[in-house]
Symmetry: C2
Subunit: 344 residues, 2 copies
Amino acid sequence: MLNERSQKVLCAIVQTYINNPEPVGSGFITKRYAFNLSPATVRNIMADLEVEGFLSQPHTSAGRIPTDMGYRLFVNSLHSEIEYQPDNKSTLYRMVNELESIKDDINALLEETTKKLSGFSHYLSVAVCPSTRISTFNRIEFLKHRGSQVVAVLLTDEGLIKNKVLDVGSDLSQRHLNRISGYLNSEFHGYSLIEIRAKILREMAKEKDLCDTLISRAIRICKEALFFPYDDLFISGLAEVLGLPDFSDVEKIKEISRAIEDKHHMLQILEKISDTDGVKVIIGAENPMMQMKGFSLVASSYKEGDRPIGCVGMIGPTRMDYSRAIAVINTTARFLTRVLTDRK
Amino acid sequence: MLNERSQKVLCAIVQTYINNPEPVGSGFITKRYAFNLSPATVRNIMADLEVEGFLSQPHTSAGRIPTDMGYRLFVNSLHSEIEYQPDNKSTLYRMVNELESIKDDINALLEETTKKLSGFSHYLSVAVCPSTRISTFNRIEFLKHRGSQVVAVLLTDEGLIKNKVLDVGSDLSQRHLNRISGYLNSEFHGYSLIEIRAKILREMAKEKDLCDTLISRAIRICKEALFFPYDDLFISGLAEVLGLPDFSDVEKIKEISRAIEDKHHMLQILEKISDTDGVKVIIGAENPMMQMKGFSLVASSYKEGDRPIGCVGMIGPTRMDYSRAIAVINTTARFLTRVLTDRK
DNA sequence: TATTAGCACTCTCGATACGAGAGTGCTAAT
DNA sequence: ATTAGCACTCTCGTATCGAGAGTGCTAATA
């Protein structure tokens, strides 16, 4: 579609703009890059690129800035050099090492990871826990709390720990509860929570008319105990990201603040990425699901063994340093994968 | 210090400025308020108020705006009418009713409370859980997880549920763990976590030379399990607050973002308030501990019975609607107190 | 003596103008 | 096909100006 020379010019423009957020003129390109072209020729190429939709002009007689399509082409041309950048190797490794010590607690691990990522990259960083939807039931315990309240503690094979406060009838003793959890643990061990949900619904339909047996009661409690409307989402780096020149505009700031507070929506996007493999880059409004005009997301799933279970990523302006971001996220995701896989 | 008339004029100016963030001129005051004074007289009073430090002038020949001291006097003069404002009564009650349904889970309750508060008031709202420092030990359980990992689940009398992942030697069976938790539960029930910490340290000093008895082991594990560096902090409403005209300035936005991300510092302030009784108002840089120049905090502790255990509040620009904020926080804190006390 | 009317003064803000600078698009030459 | 040359366009910073709002001061007033 695009000849090689045009593509090279485009990439040069994108790179230049990423380094410094000002419209790029033809003169700069000819001076900075050894394409052996005159400014006039570059201008012609730029005009073509604009017609094709890769560049745009803030106004006549200004330089060009990349469109989302322009960034996309740039990012696609990047995919070969996805591995570590030399310059941030050491810092990144140091960061990863510091995380090694808390690898046992997946929540703490992800929280620290986002904190370190944002401090390190100056972008907003995000991570989601292994989704409760796909997690594998390991064990559930019920602890009698105050009055008729019971705390259900769910452990999954992925290392998730989830609490839920339930209100059961006041007549269940701890002994009863232990029998219930014993039953559930033997019955459900190894199933995914989704399967268990389905199983429970079937059971409930079957036992509908049965009176208050322990089992039917167990199942009803379990249905509640296994239902977690939201997965945990970690976000860090708002203050960092506001330091970028791209956020000198108040509207921009409001937009990213809204994105942060709308955790539900953010989760949807990240969980979709959690299911796939490798680094994903979503640029600007590419994905209709993100109303993030002006922002890009670089994210990757992390895995336990071969199975993707969660996702970690960075959000920045569309003018973000993709090659660095991709490298960083890639390294981070591999690190998480290694840690989560090794502990088996 | 200030005669009554001056004080009235000051309050009128503050109120006017709160309604509309523009410097207030002498003409407006005479027209709007029936003080029976001429603009010239008001100007004289304003000049005095400025000398005394209650007002400031953005530039010669502009109206006056309140200083932190001015807001302070205004707020102090307000304390009589601290109870519900008539206009937002119904909305506030509706909000509180909606929260009633999740009162069992204190974390969820506080999270929802902050969400509703910020949606309702358009200010940033915050809440802290009962501090683990002062919480009362109710019960601890250890669940063997993967490998040598153990999940400690701590329940407090205040309704807190805390998890912690520990790495104990791999040779402890669930049976051992149960004996340990049994021992701890009988030993520590009813003590505050702080007391227990002290007890543990004493025990450890005593048993230092003893070899690996179950008890000394229990104590060591417990020491770790009861240590939670941070309490949970809920913050909501960033996107809301950015809609206020006070945040048209990027610097202001950055400042509040930093305040949000510096949870450690925020916690310090709120936990101090958690220990006291009633609504506290901190205006601007009044409290040296908050580097929040330009922001005010209206907060109140909530109690269980007679004992303050946590804190809920709202943060807004110094130009915030204090009388409304105080009323709202007061109502909210009372609601929390009632809910947390009744469940006994 | 406290208040007020009158008035000159000061400062902001929006509109307008203008020149420098950067970069373009087009045309004609190579 | 590329390029040199040049006129053109647009932004941005600065300066200017007048309207408007509000003040501070002085002298008159109750």
